[in-house]
């Protein structure tokens, strides 16, 4: 292939004006032939260029690169001469490199007096770059250069040097917007993969933290890092993750959502089977429980697998504040989970089928409010729910400058005018608002989405079958959840199948001294997380009493 390519390049070289002359001047047939061949080459994915080796002839390499990067104004080829030695050129993408560093390195090479000029010697003696590599094929070279490395070609060398002098501008590390906390670290992942892995490494300073690198996406060549803690994680899970990711064949991966969809267990389920997080502490905590994290270059959202349902209802802050409060908040979430899912359908069912279930005075107020409403309860509920969903969607897409105006308008239209005009009853507005608030209490946005979606079929069921329909719907949802798996782990673990020891992190948030074991349902290797001696000490005195510290106020007691 390369041979054939070289022949074409040579013929190109023979008539250098060919590329600049217009098509009309060309022999049409010959031109078409060559174009076709080039097109075929162009359409190939970078990875396939691995078959093409780097040639010893510098000009050959240069011409090929010039062809590959034709019309790429950001790709720069900078020829230079190593002093007293050979010709060379550097290849880099402007904007991805640290220009000052590249300048310095080139300078160091240029004054490399009278050296032999082979790549190995240069690398070891005169290139002041900390990250250095050499490649012998175009596939690896292009992947590196397009990722920000600088490639250096030297006359007579079949290998090119890769200088890791990346300096692309990135967003600075800031507080994650989707997972804000009151107490906890304020740093969040950004788009750059290396920055993200470094953030995690700063949390887990251990060589046990492994990061397997992979590349996915034929055109995007997105870098992926699979992070896990060796010694804790079940190796089968890691193998499964690596296997599923290496099976991916797609042209582009622009966000971790692509990966999530391509590796999840049940494509058609409304439930998220992969958790994502913007927070290094959340990811670190997951790894410590024996999960696997998947970093995807270009997005701050890191995937965490396996994921269970209860995990989606837990926030990192649960572990930072007092455990009693965390327990209460967890229960608040569980209650509001049901409200978010069932409130509108319960209202429909009760107000159209089971009026006898309401307390009399409540029924009378509802009846009074509904007196002038022209729609059946289910239509009313649908109008309001859809209006609310539209408002929410608009709120996300709106430019910030008009956001306030629209929210005021929305509040007025939905909250006031529709009630005063007698289109929608006030209880319905209350129901929709509570439902809306309830869905925001779920810490994971993708879990809240599920509830928002499932609400509507339940509303239809409620309008047809009443309470019976809701029960059937909920049973169906539960059955589906019991059926789901995430990387082999049942979705409802640890409640179904029950592993009662792990419930102390689901029903309540037990204090750390009571959670000395990692959750066992994940089939991990190392189960103990806290030292036995410390746990026993704390348990015996239900806290650290500091008995050794005397205080005047209890002196008498201690004497006695």
């Amino acid at each position: 292939m390369y041979r054939r390519f070289r022949r074409k390049r040579n013929s190109l070289q023979d008539r250098p004006e060919e590329r600049t002359t217009s098509k009309q001047d060309e022999d049409r047939e010959q031109h078409n032939d060559r174009e076709e061949e080039f097109d075929a080459l162009n359409r190939q994915y970078v990875e396939q260029l691995r078959e093409i080796p780097i040639h010893h002839d510098l000009n050959d390499n240069r011409r090929y690169l010039e062809y590959l990067f034709s019309d790429c104004s950001d790709c720069i080829i900078r020829p230079f001469r190593i002093e007293g030695s050979r010709e060379a050129f550097a290849l880099f993408v402007d904007g991805l490199i640290d220009t000052a560093e590249v300048n310095r390195t080139l300078k160091a090479m240029m004054i490399d007096e009278g050296g032999v000029g082979n790549a190995e010697r240069l690398a070891s003696e005169s290139v002041p770059a900390s990250q250095l590599d050499d490649v012998d094929n175009y596939g690896d070279l292009l992947l590196a250069v397009l990722g920000g490395d600088t490639g250096v070609f030297i006359e007579g060398n079949g290998r090119a040097l890769l200088l890791g002098l990346r300096g692309m501008s990135t967003r600075s590390i800031s507080e994650p917007e989707t997972e804000a906390v009151v107490r906890g670290p304020r740093e969040g992942f950004i788009e750059n993969l290396r920055t993200n892995t470094s953030l995690l490494r700063r949390k887990l300073k251990t060589p046990n933290l492994k990061m397997k690198a992979m590349v996915v996406g034929n055109q995007t060549n997105t870098s992926i890092a699979i992070a896990y803690l060796e010694g804790i994680v079940d190796p089968a899970t890691v193998d499964e993750v690596v296997g599923r990711i290496s099976n991916i064949q797609i042209d582009g991966v622009l966000e971790s959502g692509y990966i999530e969809e391509l590796i999840q267990d049940s494509t058609y389920s409304p439930f998220p089977q992969v958790q994502y997080s913007e927070r290094p502490d959340t990811v670190a905590a997951s790894l410590l429980e024996g999960r696997v994290a998947i970093f995807v270059d270009g997005t701050p959202f890191v995937l965490i697998v396996p994921t269970t349902f209860w995990q989606l209802l837990q926030a990192n802050e649960d572990y930072y504040e007092r455990f009693q409060m965390a327990t209460l908040i967890r229960w608040l979430r569980y209650v509001f989970l049901f409200i978010a899912l069932l409130m509108p359908s319960l209202y429909i069912a009760i107000s159209t089928f089971h009026q006898s279930m309401l307390p009399t005075t409540l029924l009378l107020s509802v009846a009074a409010a509904r007196e002038t409403i022209p729609f059946p309860a289910v239509v009313e509920a649908f109008i309001m729910e859809i209006a609310f969903e539209a408002l929410r969607e608009a709120g996300v897409r709106l430019p910030k400058t008009v956001g306030q105006a629209v929210s005021i308008l929305g509040a007025l239209v939905v909250g006031q005018a529709s009630v005063q005009a007698g289109i929608v009853s006030a209880p319905m507005v209350i129901i929709v608002s509570i439902t809306g608030i309830a869905s925001f209490t779920i810490p994971r946005y993708n879990a809240a989405i599920t509830l928002r979606m499932l609400r509507f079929p339940l509303m239809i069921l409620a309008s047809i079958f009443g309470m019976y329909g809701i029960l059937i719907g909920v049973m169906f949802i539960l059955g589906h959840m019991a059926n789901l798996r995430s990387f082999g782990i049942p979705y409802l673990s640890p409640t179904g199948p029950l592993s009662s020891n792990d419930l102390r992190d689901v029903l309540i948030r037990a204090p750390w001294t009571e959670m000395s074991k990692r959750p066992s349902f994940l089939d991990i290797q190392d189960t103990r997380r806290a030292g036995k001696q410390m746990i026993e000490d704390v348990d015996s005195t239900s806290g650290q009493k500091g008995i050794g510290i005397p205080h005047p106020s209890v002196e008498g007691e201690s004497d006695a």
Partner: protein, 399 residues
């Protein structure tokens, strides 16, 4: 599971499935769907007996439109009643209901009936039939309160109490207050089905308030209705009603007042009490030993006696003993007079001596009750005399 099934289906059969599923709601849905504004919420019903022997059924229904819900241009509640009372007669209660329904645009809905009123005339004839009508459909609640009306039942429904929107609501609030025996339909049905106890149902009547600027008709609790089996035989009121609490061993706090030579006019509140009725089976009559422990406090004492002195307290306690004893005796007189076991005395015997009750007393219980004798012992304790032990306006006289 569903996804794998879908995959095996062909495109056309999947379309068919979707079509069938989408027609489902239209084919069998909503047959018992009723919107809230399609029902007439009955909050109370009165059953009466007309002179011609027909039942008169009166329903009090809420008018949600008049209750000031949020609406566009809906009138306020000023002047307009928030309820509607409709009355109809029929040979049966259901017939009357059906006739009412024929002129109502909304479906009668009885699940929220909170008070069932039975007129005096109908109660005299017997209330057992009512329980057939009420318990036959699940919509009716057996936990609703039951009231005997002095006079006509529908008069109570037409009363317009000031605090509540409906008289039914007012009656229910009164009936649920702490100082009367609360009885719902289930309790009455239970007592009717047992020998040795007769129901005691609150008796109410509409009264015009007097001397106020704005006249209003309130529903007033005036005592309990006594029954002989299921027939209303007469009221039990005031002192006798207080006495019946002790005999029934179901204490309810009450206030009573009396005049005494030594202490003048005194009002007390009996706030805590416990009574015990112990039967002794004699060869020809039963003796009931009624032992009462009462705690009370003085709420009014005109004479200005210093209750800070313990001998005064002791003396006044003796007077209270007598007072309570009197009330129990009054209750016993009512029981014997009306041949009504509203004190649940038969139950006391049935529980203590089940064999003898079955063999000897059950068949002629009312006759036995007439012969029964009562020994009453009362022990009153004045626990509180109020914030002051004597009138603060009493003139200080230096001795």
């Amino acid at each position: 599971m569903s996804s794998s099934k879908k995959k095996t289906l062909g495109n056309s059969s999947r379309l068919l499935l979707i079509l069938i599923l989408s027609t489902l709601p239209f084919s069998f849905g909503c047959w018992d769907r009723t919107e809230i504004n399609d029902i007439a919420i009955v909050v109370s019903t009165a059953f009466d007996l007309d002179p011609d022997g027909k039942y008169r059924v009166t329903c009090q229904m809420a008018l949600p439109g008049q209750m000031g819900g949020s609406n566009g241009g809906g009138g306020g509640t000023s002047g307009q009643k928030s309820y509607y009372v409709d009355s109809e007669t029929g040979n049966t209660i259901r017939e009357a209901n059906a006739r009412q329904q024929a002129r109502l645009s909304r479906q009668l809905f009885f699940a929220h009936r909170r008070v069932l009123i039975i007129g005096e005339e109908l109660a005299k004839q017997g209330i057992r039939e009512i329980f057939d009508v009420v318990a036959r459909v699940p919509e009716n609640r057996l936990t609703s309160n039951i009231v005997i009306a002095k006079g006509k039942g529908y008069d109570l429904l037409n009363a317009q109490p000031q605090f509540e929107r409906f008289s039914a609501e007012a009656m229910r609030e009164i009936l649920q207050s702490d100082n009367m025996i609360e009885i719902n339909m289930k309790d009455v049905a239970q007592e009717l089905s047992q020998v040795g106890t007769d129901p005691l149902i609150p008796l109410m009547m509409p009264v015009q308030t007097t001397k106020g600027k704005q006249k209003s008709t309130e529903t007033q609790f005036i005592g309990y209705a006594q029954f002989h089996d299921d027939r209303y035989v007469g009221p039990i009121q005031d002192e006798a009603a207080q006495g019946i609490y002790w005999i029934r061993q179901r204490f309810k706090p009450y206030t009573t007042s009396f005049e005494n030579k030594q202490f003048g006019k005194i009002a007390i509140n009996v706030y805590k009490g416990k009574s015990e009725v112990i039967p002794h089976l004699g060869s020809d009559h039963i003796t009931f030993d009624v032992r009462i422990n009462a705690n009370c406090y003085i709420t009014e004492a005109e004479q200005g006696i210093d209750f800070g002195m313990s001998e005064n307290i002791q003396k006044v306690e003796g007077v209270f003993d007598q007072k309570i004893k009197q009330s129990v005796q009054a209750a016993i007189a009512e029981i014997k007079n009306h041949k009504s076991d509203s004190g649940q005395l038969g139950l006391v015997i049935a529980r203590n001596y089940p064999r003898q009750w079955q063999d000897k007393y059950e068949k002629h219980w009312y006759a036995e009750l007439q012969k029964a004798e009562f020994k009453i012992s009362v022990n009153t304790e004045v626990a509180r005399v109020g914030l002051i032990s004597e009138n603060i306006a009493k003139k200080e006289v230096t001795e």
